[in-house]
Amino acid sequence: MKSKTKNRLMSIFVHLVLILLAFMCLFFFYVLVVNCTHSHADLQKGFSFLPGKDFLTNLDSVANDGTFPMFRGILNSLVVSGSCAAICTYFSALTAYGLYAYDFKIKKVAFTFIMAILVMPTQVTAMGFLRLITKMGLYDSLLPLILPSIASPAVFYFMYSYLESSLPLSLVEAARIDGSGEFFTFNRIVLPIMKPAIAVQAIFTFVGSWNNYFVPALVIQSKNKMTVPILIAALRGADYMTFDMGKIYMMIAVAIVPIIIVYLLLSKYIIAGVTLGGVKG
């Protein structure tokens, strides 16, 4: 009896802590969403917990801002992140399949090498990278933000583990006997089997690329090629406390909200995918 009441008390305590933590996580987004519906004059009066009526006005002024082309930035970010997600998952799957399904001399060495660079930060080679792409004439273009994602050790590792658990090699053999070419086998038989793994990694790569700030900030110069994080940084660099605050909140909102919506739709797969690798802060 005693332990039952104790358990109940404990349970109540646990729920209170969880609610507090959930509040902490959601509060900032709540403030953001509420504030982006208020006009500058409203915001100056102090914080109000209720949404205002200036959502469309703010959205409109963000859309028509020439100094911080946010929507152009979103478009650029979509192009970069979408391409990254596509080529990163495809080539990681290809590499994983190459190392999983075939026997060749350097197989072990190649695998060990990729595992050794699994968590290597990109920042340490940023200087040489910047010089290289300048020499290649790719400075201030979106390509250098996309192409390096062909080699993503962490995604490779995920794909490899997935293949190990779900692709029997006899299937590949069977395809060969039926006269399927190796590339055809990969594209038509292996890729569909890997769909769940590809989906999870596509989401993570997309989000990672969408949020990436360090490298794009070094590579991109011209305004119409800027991705969202660079625009955010440019906004911070400007003397923006004198700006229309409703617009500022709206700019942050358009940078953050698309990812939140995607996350809420796909949260089940994302959370299931978290446990499998990746560098954290």
């Binding site: 349970s11 646990v14 969880l18 933590l21 959930a22 902490m24 996580c25 403030v31 504030n35 100056q44 914080f47 290809l94 590499t95 190459g98 190392l99 399904a101 075939y102 026997d103 060749f104 197989k107 190649a110 990729i114 595992m115 660079i117 699994l118 968590v119 290597m120 930060p121 920042q123 340490v124 080679t125 200087m127 040489g128 990278f129 010089r131 290289l132 192409l147 390096p148 080699a151 490779f156 583990s161 700030y213 360090f214 070094l218 994080p229 955010i232 940084a233 906004l235 911070r236 406390m241 942050i252 940078a255 953050i256 939140i260 949260s267 959370i271 978290v274 446990t275 954290k280 802060g281």
Partner: protein
């Protein structure tokens, strides 16, 4: 018969090479060449002052020595402090939550909801998050406005003006962004512990706290170590949040300047020699950390996640069979 024999002799090895080629070509071009270039120029006097380019002149280890004498050590300490402020509450909360989430007796309602919510900040663009915090914690921002109207304070606090304020904000943001991720990782590890161990501890009369310290913790030690190391690597790369929050200045008085912000300044001013030497220092540190992670991921299932997945699958199979 002849056809069959011929087919058997086909070697597929070349396809292995072809399939892994793009990865290695891309890695060679975008990582190896830059790395060699970075290391090479770290031994050169090579910078730009105004429009004049100085160098490259070979100067041996001068850049390395100058860096040690400069504020690099200080920035390293800043990075460490900022990382600790974020990591300690993160790992404590994550451990507690992981234990709670896996404890069936607590009957947590809306478990999935809480998981979704605590993981949410992890996906937010760090730079936008930092800008949001800067705006919210400014003297005229919503936080001060709320505190004032609640009567908690009677004068607006200048959060971004004090060393304590800025460091706490950065630590808090890092905590908020990563504790959900860590919780989910640790949860997988706890679920990987065999049920028998917990049952045995229950029969032996373990209470919740004893069970946590004597059963759960020792069992998930490998993944704890993994979390620690990957978090150090992530902390070493800390950039977006302090950069945006302090507008790249590491204010007040460069007390929140991190190593990567320092590197960023060198790269922006095309200070290749110094930037190279700093990169090499960072490369050596991350190399050591990578080696540790490599050892862990190649010992038999160090992080417990595979075991967890396997256990879950087994469980599901069992349940299906039982039905």
């Amino acid at each position: 018969m002849v056809m069959k024999k011929k087919r058997k002799n086909i070697s597929y090895a070349k396809w292995g090479y072809i399939f892994i080629l793009p990865f290695f070509v891309s890695f060679f071009i975008f990582s190896c060449i830059p790395l060699v270039d970075t290391i090479k120029y770290s031994f050169f006097e090579y910078y730009r002052s105004g429009i004049k380019e100085v160098g490259p002149n070979f100067i041996g280890l001068t850049n390395y020595i100058e860096l040690i004498k400069s504020d690099m050590v200080l920035y390293g300490a800043n990075t460490l402090i900022l990382w600790i402020i974020g990591f300690v509450p993160q790992i404590v909360i994550a451990l507690v939550l992981a234990a709670w989430f896996t404890d069936a007796r607590l009957k947590i309602k809306g478990l999935q909801f809480f998981k979704v919510v605590i993981y949410l900040p992890n996906l937010i663009m760090a730079s936008a998050f930092a800008l949001l915090f800067f705006t919210m914690f400014s003297t005229g921002g919503p936080i001060n406005s709320i505190l004032l109207s609640l009567g908690v304070i009677d004068k607006a606090i200048d959060f971004t003006g004090s060393v304590f304020g800025v460091r706490s904000l950065i630590g808090f943001m890092n905590f908020l962004m990563w504790f959900g991720n860590t919780t989910i990782m640790l949860m997988a590890a706890v679920m990987g512990i065999s049920v028998e161990v917990f049952e045995a501890s229950d029969i032996d009369g373990c209470n919740r706290i004893q069970r946590f310290f004597y059963v759960t913790l020792p069992q998930i030690r490998p993944i704890l170590a993994y979390t620690l190391i990957t978090s150090i690597i992530g902390g070493l790369q800390m950039f977006d949040v302090p950069q945006i929050l302090t507008n790249g200045k590491g204010s007040p008085d460069r007390t929140s300047m991190t190593l990567i912000m320092f590197l960023n300044n060198h790269l922006k001013s095309k200070n290749y020699g110094m930037g190279g030497a700093l990169s090499v220092y960072l490369f050596i540190i991350s190399g050591i950390l990578c080696a540790i992670v490599y050892k862990m991921t190649n010992d038999d299932d160090p992080d417990g996640s595979k075991a967890a997945a396997k256990a879950r699958k087994k469980e599901q199979r069992k349940n299906r069979r039982a039905k």
